[in-house]
Amino acid sequence: MTTETLSLVGRDLISMRDFTRDELLAFLDEARAFEDFREPILLGLVLGSLFFEPSTRTNLSFSGAMQRLGGSVLGFADSKVSSTAKGESLADTIRAVENYCDIILLRHPLEGAARLAAESTGLPVINAGDGTNQHPTQTLLDLYTIQQRRGRLDNLKIAFIGDLKYSRTVHSLIDTLAHFDNELFLISPPTLRIPAEFLEELDARGTVYSEDEDFFAVAKDVDILYTTRIQQERFPDPVEYEKVKNAYRIDREGLQKIGDEITLMHPLPRVNEIATDLDDYPGSAYFEQVRNGVTIRKAVLSMLLGKPRV
């Protein structure tokens, strides 16, 4: 199937599970043409941006994408100012907001909130993160960055390192990479191993993977190193956090031991997982991921709203 024949107009973007491999590739192909594109193709259209929990980066990235294509944005960045604070159900909030806009963007602490929102309105809904479940535009921008850096999405050796238990970004990317043929290395302390259900899915799909605690034992073979922040708020016991917080700090000296071919990714914000002396390392792609986020979101808005480039 060519991407020209594949229409995503009016679709919701809730979960990567809802999309075929061809549809994922259609988003990425379209994004390439949106890199430097800034024409007002979304003039007169409004993005309803509902952030029930704060997320500066995703919020600004979508707003930037919408406005660079001539559209406008309304909404809130904090649930305290919405009527949900008065006890209104999410479905009712969505039914009201659909009258003010053409597409809805939702960030919510509850998992499944975006799915529920999509079922409450005929407008397209984009999930900007629902609890620890999904954040599909993050996954798309990660795939886009991998494709851009390595020229392909298969036959790669990809290591995920750090918090593999709670990281939504990692779960979603690992799940989505199962559409492609890659070898995965899952590096974490024993307390932050990836949940068994993900391994069962990898087994079911025939993905080759291994689990390890020591990154440097496998590092020489790896094309991409995807690091994550170990989140203090996930640890009820501060002693446990102290034990693992610096376990996987990567710096220039460490990386030089394994050569300079590796692509280094991180969803940001970072704390100290990646030393700042790696910011000008040729393989560092994490600031590029941020830039690619705007590009992907421009493509997503254009495709779901059915307003193609002219």
Partner: protein
């Protein structure tokens, strides 16, 4: 003697009397009969006979329930299948088995299971639950909303 209990019929027929009209639910996983009674409720007139921990050639150990003057609904069958996927249902009319079947779980189970994930949007009671059946035996389902996959031991019936 009942026509229903084809397996060790003499023994079971002796222990559980024959039915004129109603439903026999056999091959329930041992220990689940009381849960099944809970699913069926007891707000009907006929008598209910419950047998626990019978020996079975097929499943090792099983529970059996005979319900007089009541036939099970499709929704009840689906609920019972979640508790005991290999149960067999026999519908009895005038001492004869007129229908015998095993439950087939639907692809999607609406509003029968509570999602155990406290962060799931369905933890708000105003939201109906929905689960996708990934595998029926052993049961594995995925919440349509929070997308968590879970086993039978992790779910709770509504």
């Amino acid at each position: 003697m009942s026509e229903v209990t084809n397996e060790r019929s003499t023994q079971l027929g002796y222990k559980v009397s024959a039915l004129r009209e109603g439903t026999v639910i056999d091959h329930l996983v041992a220990g689940t009969a009381l849960k099944v009674i809970d699913i069926l409720g007891l707000d009907f007139k006929g008598s209910v006979t419950v047998g626990l921990n019978y020996e079975s050639d097929k499943v090792g150990s099983k529970d059996i329930i005979k319900i007089e003057r009541r036939e099970v609904t499709q929704e009840e069958v689906a609920r019972i299948a979640l508790v005991s996927p290999r149960a067999t249902f026999s519908i009895i009319r005038d001492f004869q088995v007129v229908d015998k079947f095993q439950p087939v779980l639907p692809e999607v189970i609406d509003n029968l299971i509570r999602c155990p994930n406290p962060s799931c949007v369905t933890s708000d009671d105003r939201v109906a639950t929905s689960f996708i059946v990934l595998r029926s035996d052993p049961l594995r389902v995925r919440c349509h909303y929070c997308e968590r996959a879970m086993k039978k031991e992790e779910i709770e019936l509504l």
